[in-house]
C-alpha cells in the first residue's frame, strides 16, 4: 500500500484522493491545507486517523508518507513539489506544473537529481481517446496535418470559477500569509483564496487551467514537443467580478508543420455538441477527439482538378477540353468510380475514466519505479507555452518559445 498525503484539499485534490483510494493501491495518511474547514472535512471524509496540518512541511517531514498529491493554487505547485522531491517523496502535482517560467527548469532538475517519480495531473495523457487519436495520426489517417483546433466552452458560474466561499472563512480559520506565499502581500480577502483561479497572483487563468489540457492532448497525440511562437488575445468579457484573468482567451501557436489554434470561452451562450475537444485537420480528412470519442471525416481528394474556362472563347474552350480530357480521361459513371465519403467513429469503453486511469498510472509508477511519460519535462513542455499565452496577453505581443531549450522570449 502506498502511503499518500494530500497537500491542498480543495476540489481537485479531493477528487485525486478519491481516485487514488478507489484504485486499491493507496491509503491516505496525511492532509495539509491552510483552511481549517478542509482539514476537518478530510477527517470526516477519509477517517479521523488521517494526520492533518496547516503546515505542509509537517506532512513532508513524516516517514509514513511515500508520495504526495500537490493540489494547491498554482503559485504553490513548484515550491511544494520541489520540497517534496527533496524530502524523498514521489509527487503527483496538479496542472499546470508551474506558475512562473523560472520554476520549470527547477522542477525538471529536481526530478532528475532526486530520481523520484513526478507526474503532472493532466489526465488526457492517460486518455484512451488521445491514445487512439495518436495511433490514427501515425497511420496517416488524415494525410498531412496542417492545422489543429482546440476548444473548451463553458457558460456557468461554476465553470467560470465562481466557487463557493464557506461562511466560516475568517482569519482564525485560514493561514492567510501562507496562502499568499511568494505572491504580493495583501490584506485578508477570502474570495482571492477560494476563487484563486481568477487572480494572476495565484492562478494561471484560462491558459494554465484549460489550455494546458489541450496542449497535453495535442502533445500526447502528435508527439510534438512544443511551438516556436505563441500569440494570444482575449479579455474579461462577462464575468466582471473583480477578476484579473480573462474569461475569453484565443491563442495561436506555430508548430513546425501545423498551427495550433485554441479557444476557451467561459461565456459561450449556447452549448456546441461537444464542449471540449481537439480537431486535427489534414489533407485527407479531419479528426475530432472529444470525451465521447474520436471521429474521422474524410472526403477523398478530387480525382481531377476541374477547370474554369467560361471566360475563354468557345473555340479555346473546346481546345482546352480536348487537352484536359487527354490528361484526365472522362471517368465513366460506374459503381467502382464512386468515391468513399467516410466517417469513422471510435468510442472509448463506457467504464473508461481518464482521471482515474491517470492516478492509477501514477501509483503504478510509484510501485514499479517506472515513470509514466507525463513527467516534469512533459509537464513543462505544456506549462511553458501556457505561461507564454499569459505573457502574450499581458504584453500584447507574440512570444517566442524555444521548445528545445524551454525558454520564452
Amino acid at each position: 500500500m502506498i502511503r499518500l498525503a494530500l497537500i491542498g484539499a480543495g476540489g481537485m485534490g479531493s477528487g485525486d484522493v478519491d481516485d487514488a483510494l478507489k484504485s486499491g493501491q493507496a491509503q491516505l495518511t496525511a492532509v495539509a491545507d491552510i483552511y481549517q474547514g478542509r482539514l476537518d472535512r478530510a477527517k470526516e471524509r477519509w477517517g479521523s486517523n488521517v494526520f492533518t496540518s496547516r503546515d505542509y512541511r509537517e506532512v513532508l517531514a513524516r516517514r509514513d508518507v511515500d508520495a504526495v498529491i500537490v493540489a494547491t493554487p498554482d503559485h504553490w505547485h513548484a515550491p511544494i513539489a520541489i520540497a517534496a522531491l527533496r524530502a524523498g517523496k514521489d509527487v503527483y502535482v496538479e496542472k499546470p506544473m508551474v506558475h512562473k517560467f523560472a520554476e520549470g527548469p527547477q522542477m525538471i532538475a529536481a526530478q532528475q537529481e532526486t530520481g523520484r517519480i513526478l507526474q503532472v495531473g493532466s489526465q488526457y495523457a492517460s486518455s484512451l481517446v488521445f491514445a487512439k487519436a495518436g495511433d490514427l495520426l501515425k497511420q496517416k489517417a488524415l494525410g498531412e496535418v496542417n492545422l489543429v483546433e482546440a476548444w473548451l466552452d463553458r457558460n456557468t458560474a461554476l465553470g467560470a470559477w465562481q466557487y463557493s466561499l464557506p461562511p466560516d472563512a475568517n482569519e482564525a480559520n485560514i493561514d492567510w500569509e501562507t496562502f499568499l506565499g511568494n505572491a504580493p502581500k495583501r490584506p485578508f480577502e477570502p474570495v482571492r483564496l477560494f476563487r484563486w483561479r481568477n487572480y494572476k497572483d495565484y492562478g494561471t487563468g484560462v491558459s494554465g487551467d484549460l489550455f494546458v489540457h489541450l496542449l497535453t492532448g495535442l502533445h500526447f497525440a502528435t508527439g510534438s514537443t512544443g511551438p516556436s511562437r505563441i500569440y494570444a488575445t482575449g479579455g474579461v468579457r462577462f464575468w466582471k467580478d473583480g477578476r484579473d484573468a480573462p474569461d475569453v482567451v484565443l491563442a495561436m501557436m506555430d508548430y513546425p508543420t501545423f498551427t495550433f489554434v485554441l479557444r476557451v470561452n467561459l461565456a459561450s451562450g449556447a452549448a456546441p455538441p461537444e464542449r471540449f475537444g481537439l480537431k486535427f485537420v489534414g489533407s485527407e480528412g479531419t479528426m475530432e477527439a472529444t470525451m465521447s470519442g474520436v471521429t474521422i471525416d474524410r472526403t477523398p481528394r478530387e480525382a481531377e482538378p476541374g477547370y474554369t474556362i467560361n471566360t475563354f472563347t468557345e473555340r479555346t474552350q473546346a481546345q482546352f477540353l480536348t487537352e484536359y480530357r487527354k490528361k484526365y480521361p472522362q471517368p465513366k459513371p460506374s459503381a467502382d468510380a464512386m468515391r468513399p465519403l467516410r466517417q469513422e467513429r471510435y468510442t472509448p469503453p463506457r467504464e473508461h475514466n481518464a482521471h482515474f486511469d491517470h492516478m492509477k498510472n501514477f501509483l503504478t509508477a510509484v510501485e514499479t519505479r517506472k515513470p509514466f511519460f507525463e513527467d516534469a519535462l512533459f509537464g513543462y513542455r505544456t506549462a511553458g507555452p501556457s505561461l507564454a499565452v499569459n505573457l502574450s496577453l499581458e504584453e500584447q505581443r507574440p512570444v517566442m518559445w524555444d521548445a528545445a531549450k524551454l525558454v520564452a522570449s
Partner: protein, 442 residues
C-alpha cells in the same frame, strides 16, 4: 446613351459633380467591365440581371476574354486591351473593375476622375496607402464607388444584424468566421487557355506597377497565388468576412491584428499561404461591447468545404451560413455551489444561506427555460450578388450613397492586408480604422 446624358457628363467637367450627375430615370445605365475573368463576368451577368443596365464595353489584357465577351454579351461591345480607351468614352456611366488586385486602385482612381461611377472588386486596394488616396478621390469626385463584397447587401446578413441588435444572443464576446476549401480550383488553380501567348496577352500591361518579369502566363491566370498581383487568402476571403462582420455588428475595424499560417499543401510555386488564421481585437463601440474576432481560411481541409460565421454571446450563438441560425441557452437561474470540501456543518450553514438567496424552485411548467433554436433562410435561389449590383446601380441612378463605399471598403481591406503583413513580418500590429494607420508592435 441619350444625348442629354452625354451633355450632362460634359458639363460635369466644369461644375461640381454631385449636383449634376444624374441618370434619367428611364434610361439604362451604360457600363463597361474592366477585367473580364471569372468575377468580372459574374459581375457583368448580375449587372445585366438588374434590368437597370446595358453593357457597352469590355477591357482585358487577354484577347480571348475580349472575344469571349462579344460571344457572350453581344457583338455590339466595344472591346480593347487598353482600359484607358474605355474610360475615355463618354457613353459610359459606370465601370466594373475586376482586374487583379494590384490594378484596382489605379483604374478606380482614373475612372472616378473620368466621371464614372465605380464598382470595384474586393479587396478595394492592394496597398493601404492606395486605399487612403482612393477614399479621398471618391469623396472629392462625388461619384458613387461601391466595393464588391456582396454580403453587405445580403438579406441574410441584414437578418443577422437585426437579431443581434435585438439581443438574440445577449452580449457579444466573440466572432469566429471560417472558409474551408479542399479543391484545386478552390485553391485558385484556375485554367490557363491554350492560346496564352505573348501575342494574345499584353504582358507589360498586366504587370503594371508590379516588378518586371518575363512572360509567364500562369502568373496572370492564377494571379491570386502571387503577392505581386494578388493579396492572398486575406485579400480574397478575409475581406469578405470583415465586410460581412462589420456590416452585421456596425464595427469599423479592429485595433490590433495578428495572423499566422503557411503554405502547407498547394506548393505549385505560389508565394502566399494556403492556411491562414487571424486574431483581431475589436474595441467597444456604441452599444456593441468589446469582442474578439478569429478568422480561418484553410485550402486543405480533408473533410470538405464549408464557410460561415459564429457570433457568440452570453445567451446564445448565432450562426450565419446560407441562412441564420440562433441557438439560445438562457443563463442559469442560480449559480450553483462547490461545497463538498467544507465540513458537513459548514455545508449546512452554506446551504441555509444559499437557499435564502436562491429559493429552491418547484419544478413547474412555467419554470422550464426555453432552449431555442431558430433558423431563418432566404428563398431558394436568392442571390446577394444580384442585390449588391442592384444597390450599386440604384445608387448610380438616385445618387444616394451606398453602404459599402470606399471608406467601408478600406475598413475591410485594411485589416485583411495587415494580416498579410503580420504573416510575412511575423509581427502583431495596431490598426486605427479611422485614420487607416498601422504600427508594428514590439
Amino acid at each position: 446613351m441619350s444625348i442629354s446624358r452625354r451633355h450632362l457628363l460634359q458639363a460635369a467637367a466644369l461644375t461640381p459633380a454631385v449636383a449634376l450627375a444624374q441618370v434619367s430615370p428611364n434610361a439604362k445605365i451604360s457600363f463597361a467591365t474592366i477585367g473580364n475573368g471569372g468575377m468580372g463576368t459574374g459581375d457583368t451577368e448580375s449587372a445585366l440581371r438588374t434590368g437597370l443596365t446595358e453593357m457597352v464595353a469590355a477591357s482585358d489584357v487577354y484577347q480571348g476574354r475580349l472575344d469571349r465577351a462579344k460571344e457572350r454579351f453581344g457583338n455590339h461591345l466595344f472591346t480593347t486591351r487598353d482600359y484607358r480607351e474605355v474610360l475615355a468614352r463618354k457613353d459610359i456611366d459606370a465601370v466594373i473593375i475586376a482586374t487583379p488586385d494590384h490594378w484596382h486602385a489605379r483604374i478606380a482612381t482614373e475612372a472616378l476622375a473620368a466621371g464614372k461611377d465605380v464598382y470595384v472588386e474586393k479587396p478595394m486596394v492592394q496597398k493601404v496607402e492606395d486605399g487612403v488616396k482612393l477614399v479621398d478621390a471618391a469623396k472629392a469626385s462625388g461619384r458613387i464607388l461601391q466595393v464588391g463584397s456582396q454580403r453587405v447587401s445580403s438579406i441574410v446578413y441584414a437578418k443577422a444584424k437585426e437579431l443581434i441588435e435585438n439581443g438574440a444572443i445577449g452580449e457579444l464576446n466573440l466572432v469566429e468566421a471560417w472558409w474551408d476549401r479542399n479543391s484545386a480550383i478552390g485553391a485558385w488553380q484556375y485554367s490557363i487557355p491554350p492560346d496564352a501567348t505573348p501575342a494574345n496577352i499584353d504582358w507589360d500591361t498586366f504587370l503594371g506597377s508590379a516588378p518586371k518579369r518575363p512572360f509567364e502566363p500562369i502568373r496572370l491566370f492564377r494571379w491570386r497565388n502571387y503577392q505581386d498581383y494578388g493579396t492572398g487568402v486575406a485579400g480574397d476571403l478575409f475581406v469578405h468576412l470583415f465586410s460581412g462582420m462589420h456590416f452585421i455588428t456596425g464595427a469599423v475595424g479592429p485595433n490590433r491584428v495578428y495572423a499566422t499560417g503557411g503554405l502547407r499543401y498547394w506548393k505549385d510555386g505560389r508565394d502566399v499561404p494556403d492556411v491562414m488564421m487571424g486574431l483581431y481585437d475589436y474595441p467597444s463601440r456604441g452599444k456593441m461591447p468589446a469582442f474578439n474576432l478569429a478568422l480561418r481560411v484553410n485550402f486543405v481541409n480533408g473533410a470538405g468545404e464549408t464557410s460561415g460565421f459564429r457570433f457568440v454571446g452570453s445567451e446564445g450563438i448565432l450562426t450565419v451560413d446560407g441562412g441564420v441560425t440562433v441557438n439560445r441557452q438562457p443563463r442559469e437561474s442560480e449559480p450553483g455551489y462547490t461545497i463538498g470540501t467544507f465540513t458537513k456543518r459548514t455545508q449546512d450553514q452554506f446551504l441555509d444561506e444559499y437557499r435564502k438567496k436562491y429559493p429552491a424552485q418547484k419544478p413547474t411548467m412555467d419554470a422550464m427555460r426555453p432552449l431555442g433554436q431558430e433558423t431563418f433562410r432566404p428563398e431558394r435561389g436568392y442571390s446577394d450578388h444580384l442585390d449588391h449590383h442592384r444597390n450599386f446601380f440604384s445608387a448610380v441612378r438616385s445618387r444616394k450613397p451606398v453602404v459599402e463605399d470606399a471608406r467601408f471598403g478600406l475598413q475591410a481591406a485594411g485589416p485583411a492586408l495587415l494580416s498579410n503583413r503580420s504573416v510575412f513580418e511575423k509581427k502583431a500590429f495596431t490598426w486605427d480604422p479611422e485614420t487607416f494607420t498601422a504600427r508594428a508592435i514590439g
